[in-house]
């Protein structure tokens, strides 16, 4: 059941990315292009996605446990640190360069061709390299 639910959640997430235009890099870059032909569509996507989650966090607080088991206590809210700021800036630079963020880069695999696959491989390489880089950043800041 857990696995079926995970599959369906992934499927609904991917379908939403497709329907909303998040898998179209021209639309994403249009949203980030505030000094050019600005495309406000992504504001509607974000608003639409946040609304059900506001309800879900409230329900999670009341229930305490998930339907298929496991704690629903929200993870603690950590402080803002160096990795969060540097990482988010780097992510934004890459997002604006190609127009794909992690979710859509996976959802486009069946129709994005070799270009999408190359982006995914590079993204995976970056994900594997990140823990090493995090240690470097902390050492630089400490020393």
């Amino acid at each position: 059941m857990r696995l079926g639910a995970a599959f369906l959640c992934g499927g609904l997430f991917g379908s939403g990315l497709l329907v909303s235009g998040m898998t179209d890099t021209a639309r994403v870059i249009g949203w980030l292009d505030i000094f050019g032909q600005w495309d406000p569509t992504l504001a509607f996507v974000l608003a639409g996605a946040i609304l059900p989650m506001i309800v879900a966090w409230r329900a999670a607080g009341r229930r305490g446990t998930a339907v298929y088991g496991g704690s629903l206590t929200p993870p603690p809210l950590h402080d803002v640190d160096r990795g969060l700021v540097i990482g988010s800036l780097a992510f934004g630079l890459g997002w604006g360069l190609a127009g794909l963020c992690p979710g859509p880069s996976i959802a486009v695999l069946t129709f994005g061709g070799w270009n999408a696959l190359l982006f995914l491989v590079a993204m995976l390489a970056g994900m594997v390299a990140a823990p090493v880089l995090r240690v470097r950043i902390d050492r630089l800041a400490a020393g």
Partner: protein, 145 residues
């Protein structure tokens, strides 16, 4: 097209309902970079094979269901660049950045903002600023496309 915002809102609601269901049914946060990155760097496997297999099931749905959808509705346009250098550089930046920040548009943006997480808010501001700077720098100043 005038109908763009309706599709955006409809797709956004689907994303939000998927994130809500993943939280309430499985007790998990829908964060694409965390789900993929945890499998890639092995951290999710160390947390237990059950969690890792659940992530694989999620990713299978994320790839296959949109695949089935366009099979019936027509192939969607991605307008993705065909420059290997841009794809590699952008992919690396997105991969490193989302893991350093512990989240991306779905984890920090959708799941973080909706619970009024200050971390999620700061991350969202910085990746939006990074994205805006990127478009100005690469598209407008350097003419990359």
């Amino acid at each position: 097209m005038q109908a763009d915002w309706i599709w955006g809102l409809a797709g956004g609601l689907m994303i939000g309902i998927a994130a809500a269901a993943y939280l309430l049914l499985n007790g998990r946060i829908l964060g694409a970079s965390g789900i993929l990155g945890g499998l890639a760097d092995g951290s999710e496997w160390r947390a237990g094979a059950g969690a890792a297999v659940e992530n694989i099931a999620f990713l299978a749905g994320l790839v296959l269901v949109p695949g089935g959808l366009w099979y019936f509705l027509g192939r969607p346009e991605t307008h993705l660049t065909s420059s290997p250098a841009i794809l590699a550089a952008a992919g690396l930046l997105v991969g490193v950045g989302t893991r350093l920040a512990n989240g991306c548009t779905s984890g920090h943006g959708v799941c973080g903002l909706s619970r009024l997480s200050f971390r999620g808010f700061v991350a969202t501001v910085f990746y939006l600023v990074g994205g805006g700077v990127s478009v100005v720098l690469f598209r407008h100043l350097l003419g990359v496309s």
